[in-house]
Symmetry: D2
Subunit: 478 residues, 4 copies
């Protein structure tokens, strides 16, 4: 705790010299404004592609091409992921990185209209706003690169194109491949209902499938010869629901049944459930994973079936970073929150209509105060593990109305029209300004590192995923 | 009981005059033998088409064309089912009918080889031997028609092409459309591991889906706002498993989970289970359906979800008919059981290898004795309801090795080679001989009717399916 | 089968010489009639004592005293059971034995009246009619002893006072102690709604308690620190209810929760369920016991608790004996069924009133035909194991109205008045006559032995109870 | 919020005039010290009686006699509770009340020794320290009364002897009977591991039994005729465990099975579970009660049984009161925390030994700081409802080692020796000083009332217990 306070004091002392950078920031901000048409094109292309995790072929090319055309060295297909890439500029220390996501979600295709109306029947849509996310991050990188090119900044700027956040956690594969090993500070952001620097823990999560194997038999003529894998799935679920009473308050366990048998007249020889196990701390997730695995084995024992436990992904809670949060907050206040027009508010109000309010606003136009102590959010992200490897700063920018549920068609609608587009400039400028500060002032990088070290001191980082795992690979449609 | 005994005595007295028909039977048998190449072609075509229930477009055309080419009047698309048809010859009373099935089963595509080897990856296959079934029944009809044409027999002969036995129960739709109303006696058969006249009850069955609707919510950030339809499905299943202790011994209840949620991070707003509820008597099925529906409503109440109970099909237990069983038995003994070659036995033994025997034979070459009292089998068929409407006689002919499970690729293999093909002649001849007897001797029809009336006396036939229901309609692929 | 048939023929040939014994039987019957007042006194004393299993102190003394006063050598407290005893007369071979039970059931205290009216509030009652059982068996033994004394019969006559049939299975402890080792034939009977020789299998049963141990914790302030033994009990029960689908039709599993926690605000550290597992064959019970034990261990694994599996008793299905059944049937027909007065029928009709009939009679006055093949009943008895050790013959005599449920106050009422008392004479005479036959004719003993050997040929008898177990011991109240 | 702040400021202004009361407080403190032997006698008598809820006949008489002997007007058997009483002195406004509890807990009998050693086998013990509670509260009342008698204070002082806190919630019956209607401020305290003024919400709780009725049947011969009430209990519990996923984080639901069937061979016709349903807010408890009742009804529907829902008690969360907390805090600091001797610490350390520490102290000798905002504890009390009726102040005084679980024999041991006895003086003095302040300064009463009004503004108080319910009545042993 002591360390953190002194860092904060240090930062306050630094403020005067920081202001010397304002001219460079202005230059960067101007670049963002002057290129708004091109930026918007990139964003709307990705919005239209609306490609699912691991299949972001066009989106990945769009974004990497955008950076390449502005002089970045691009490496595609990194970490064995066809749609992952890195884009670099400059050399030497510090290495400041920005990452961007661009995968869409199934079933959420939607026109840029305030009533439910799919663009493509049963198609995918950017229900998490990643079309904005990737574009703004890349834009920030380009704006900073212009200053480096002009000799105003030194070091390395790197962009990470991180696919499949919504499914397997692309960042985790990139992290395991050592791609983040030399980075000093990583910056990111996320579309959100409110604007503010990120200073919260997320929940850690493990994504795991329990695959049971039994023995088929005619369910009417010889049920006693069958071993029902579906019975095992259900008994495991019952066991887990009993466990809920005996877990810490912050634990979240949720599951679906992904295979539940074929026809009723056959005792199901195979059945599968898919679990997310979350808690505020990864060590609690690991403990819960152990207990739930025991329940799975108990269910197998009860039914004379066999169980395979397949961990799909494992993400730590995001480790907040105070100096980076303060820096991001300061730059965000320099940039200012998004401001929305009357038409946009009418659009937003229509989106809010089906929801049970009241809400404090339609579209938030303020910047949230930076909380004294780290907050805690109930969702999870594959930024988690990375944030335990390198100091990571983040940001939320209002890009859809307050009260809109995550992963909804309403977010797709906003991302496809001006509400979402406005977000890009705010995010890109704030990220750029923060990167400028970090590239200019090594003491800021040092402060971020120090806070990082202290927060993870004594922590033994381990993951539940198998070593040397390979991601699933998809091919682009011909 | 009294009535049945006297009928049996009556039939014994009739035997001498029955033997006068042997010449006509010989004519019919000869027709079957002389046309074996063409018959086999029809059967193997249907075997290759291997079309799923309600999609038997080519198979239906193959079979109806076969009958049409031999002078039957064909009506296609009856009862609102595109692949159902009737084929008629002659006029007036009695009306003797034969039915044939021709739908395949999913996932069972297999070459005519004794080791697992799909003809089409993930394709369908005749795992219930319906390619033999339809062909033999139609062949019997044609052989009898030849005698009618020659003036040897009077009355009406009708063939029913009955699709979708494996799913919605095509016969039930045809029955509801009144298509069987004027029939005096209906005859059928089925490929089987053993040869013998049918004199058994099957189990009655209702096929029903329980569709629960809840409320989606983010499973981690607001689980208390969700209403899980999957919880309802699971709680219903738990309830049903508790019910098992408190049902009669002959009840069978089995289910699969057909919808179990999307992704774990969304509280499942929709989920569904699919049940078969069986018992020896339909009234017990109806009672069980009521109790299980209460359990479903209990699960909805427990979870604040809503449940829709959708009955897909409802079939009675087959009502056995003693005079028809005796007649079929007598004609079967006249025809003799199938005889298999050494090569066929080698083939059969290979199919048996993975099974835990011992078995009394590889391929049965005997005729089972007709039991004194009706037997009881544990499976079900859509012949059930029809058998409560008109006297129905049936037959099993050995067409695959003893011990082979129903609905297996081994049955597909046999149906595609000589083992299965041999069955056709035995079945076709026995059905033809039985139809000849019935068309010649009204006392036999009368005896069948009398036994039928006595067995169903006082029974109030009712079904659980909604009135005026429509079958699902599929279109042939372009 | 061959063996059995020839035995039956042998017995038929023996009938002429058997009839020479009728004079001795008449002597025995006369003794029973002349001593009816004393016999009734013994029976009504035991009826009034109505002592629970293992606490039959007065009843045991009453019955052993009755035998002792008639010249039997009595040994009390055998097999470590204070209320078990043997009473012997004579010496040498054959050793023919009769057994009697005398334990009552909790909560069934009732006056000898046809409406519910407890003799002692919350007291016990002879709801299984064992007050008649013990008395009639002892009376038979005494009547036969009189003939032995008179030099009419040779060999050994032994009476077994077998306590605790209703709970731990006293006979099993006596069997394990070797008390039945030298017996040639054992005879018994049971009060019943109908009269007939016993020729049925009962169900085998294992009586087992599953005791779970967890960890207490305040259920509101620290539920995550607790391990709920009650959760384990419930999850095991859910698992067993799922198993029901996958067992043979004749299996019966039923349980109660004997410990379910203390106060809701404490996570239950201990909980227990009590199971009966039954099937027609003991080997199926053993297999089910194994599977249910796996379910218990699965539940322990699911809840991080520990389970102790305590088998309380294990009884085989009764092994029927054809020659003994035929002998018993013949003697029963010599004695004749009980006949009831009009008053007794009025009394019986009142007892039947609350039940859903119709019934074929109020009080059965006929002798049931001996079935050709052994029947199968769904209940169980501790006679089971004994019947696998020595040839055992049994008998049922109508002692309460048709339709009356087992273990009911109605049976207590009948046992306390003339309906029940009449039964004693029929049972005592039939048992005595059968013992006379066996003592006189070694071929009958031989036939019983031969049938017994054949029926259990190749069977490896084993029990699930721990070796050298000790029964629970109670002390008489001061 | 505004109101509360100004009150606090007001209180600060009052401090000078408050200090004028210190002389009276000193008088009261002296009385407590000079009478310590007599006080200890009362406390140890109640400790030895160790009477269970509703059976505190001797304890109630001890405490009411103590007050009566010091000049209070005692009314016994109030609110229909034989062991409840009130004791009053003085007249007119304000009416300041103190309450005391004196019921023990089952199974916790323990000598005043640091290792487990029951005083009476299976006996009850003061595991919640109520022997100290009642005595200290009464002592405070007497000490204040001495000042009133001396003319130093005006108004009414009332003592409430409130039985059965541990079971039915005696205060709730007294509240329903209107006994608290005219009280201005109520004061209480509780033995605790730490010392501090009370300023926390507790959890609200409803205590409810779900009693299912089914139909008995022989579990082996006719299970299909039975309706298992135990099945209903278990299915309800499964349903509730599924509900856990979908409740707010602060909800606690815990249950035991109080009736789980008789013998396994009878389908259980009756079964019962006992639930505590808790949440931070009573309205959430009410909502949960509704949902759990639906689950109970769902379970009844699933099993064709009937359910009776019997609410035993319903307590709101305690409503904290800021001015009273501040007043209590100030007086507590005047009195000082308890100080423990080396021997007492050795004793305490032995009690802590079996627990997993580390703990910050053996026996707390400090006063906890008053928190700014009300805290939240996870347990519940029948003080809850009363605190919504009248402003209530409370206090905790260290009377057993840190880390000792509630309701444990360790607390009994401490209450029976000097550790616990020391507590009495601290509690009695603090309560007396607070009552003196309140009787002297109407502005304090007014401030407490105002805070109370604001906190419960707009709240519609309702209970789930049936109107006009009667408590269970027990008679003293002869």
């Amino acid at each position: 705790m002591k360390g953190k306070l002194s860092l904060t004091i240090l930062l306050l002392l630094l403020v005067p010299c920081v202001s010397g950078q304002d001219q460079d920031k202005e230059t960067a901000f101007r670049w963002v404004e002057e290129n708004s048409a091109a930026i918007q094109r990139v964003s709307l292309n990705i919005w239209r592609y609306a490609e699912l995790a691991l299949r972001e072929f066009q989106s990945s090319r769009e974004l990497s091409g955008y950076l390449e055309s502005h002089g970045f060295r691009v490496e595609r297909g990194v970490a064995g992921l066809p749609t992952a890439f890195t884009a670099s500029y400059g050399s030497g220390k510090p290495i400041i990185a920005i990452y961007g996501e661009y995968d869409a979600l199934p079933g959420l295709s939607q026109k840029a209209e305030p009533v439910r109306s799919p663009l493509v029947a049963d198609g995918a849509g950017h229900g998490c706003g990643h079309s904005l996310f990737g574009t703004a991050s890349a834009t920030a990188a380009i704006a900073v690169k212009k200053l480096m090119e002009a000799g105003r900044l030194k070091g390395t700027l790197r962009f990470y194109g991180t696919p499949a956040e919504e499914s397997i956690g692309g960042k985790n594969y990139m992290l395991e491949a050592g791609l983040f090993d030399d980075v000093d500070v990583l910056l990111g952001w996320h579309p959100s209902p409110r604007t503010g620097a990120g200073f919260s823990y997320s929940k850690a999560v493990v994504d795991v499938r329990f695959k049971f194997k039994g023995l088929a038999a005619h369910a009417s003529t010889s049920p006693h010869l069958g071993r029902s894998a579906l019975d095992a799935v259900e008994l495991m679920n019952v066991g887990v629901n009993y466990l809920r009473e005996h877990v810490k308050e912050d634990v979240r366990i949720h599951y679906v049944v992904t295979r539940g048998g074929g026809q009723p007249n056959v005792v199901p020889p195979e059945a599968e459930s898919w679990y997310y196990i979350r808690a505020n701390k990864h060590q609690d997730v690991a403990e819960m994973f152990e207990r739930i695995s025991e329940i799975a084995r108990g269910a197998a024992l009860m039914t004379r079936t066999e169980v395979e436990i397949a961990v799909g992904d494992d993400s730590h809670e995001v480790l907040p970073n105070r100096p980076l949060a303060e820096l991001m907050d300061r730059n965000l206040r320099l940039v200012g929150p998004p401001r929305f027009s009357e038409e946009e508010k009418v659009f937003g109000r229509k989106l809010q209509e089906p929801l049970t309010g009241p809400f404090e606003a339609v579209l938030s136009e303020r910047i949230e105060p930076l909380p004294e102590k780290p907050g805690q959010i109930a969702s999870s992200t594959d930024e988690g593990n990375v944030s335990w490897k390198i100091p990571t700063g983040s940001l939320g920018v209002a890009s859809y109305p307050v009260g809109i549920p995550g992963h909804s068609w309403q977010i797709v609608a906003c991302a496809g029209m001006s509400i979402g587009q406005k977000t890009i400039a705010v995010a890109a400028k704030t990220l750029a300004a923060t990167a400028i500060d970090l590239l200019k002032d090594p003491r800021l990088v040092e402060a971020a590192r120090k806070d990082f070290e202290e927060r993870r001191k004594g922590y033994s980082f381990r993951l539940l995923v198998p070593a040397n795992r390979k991601p699933p690979i998809f091919q682009p449609a011909p």
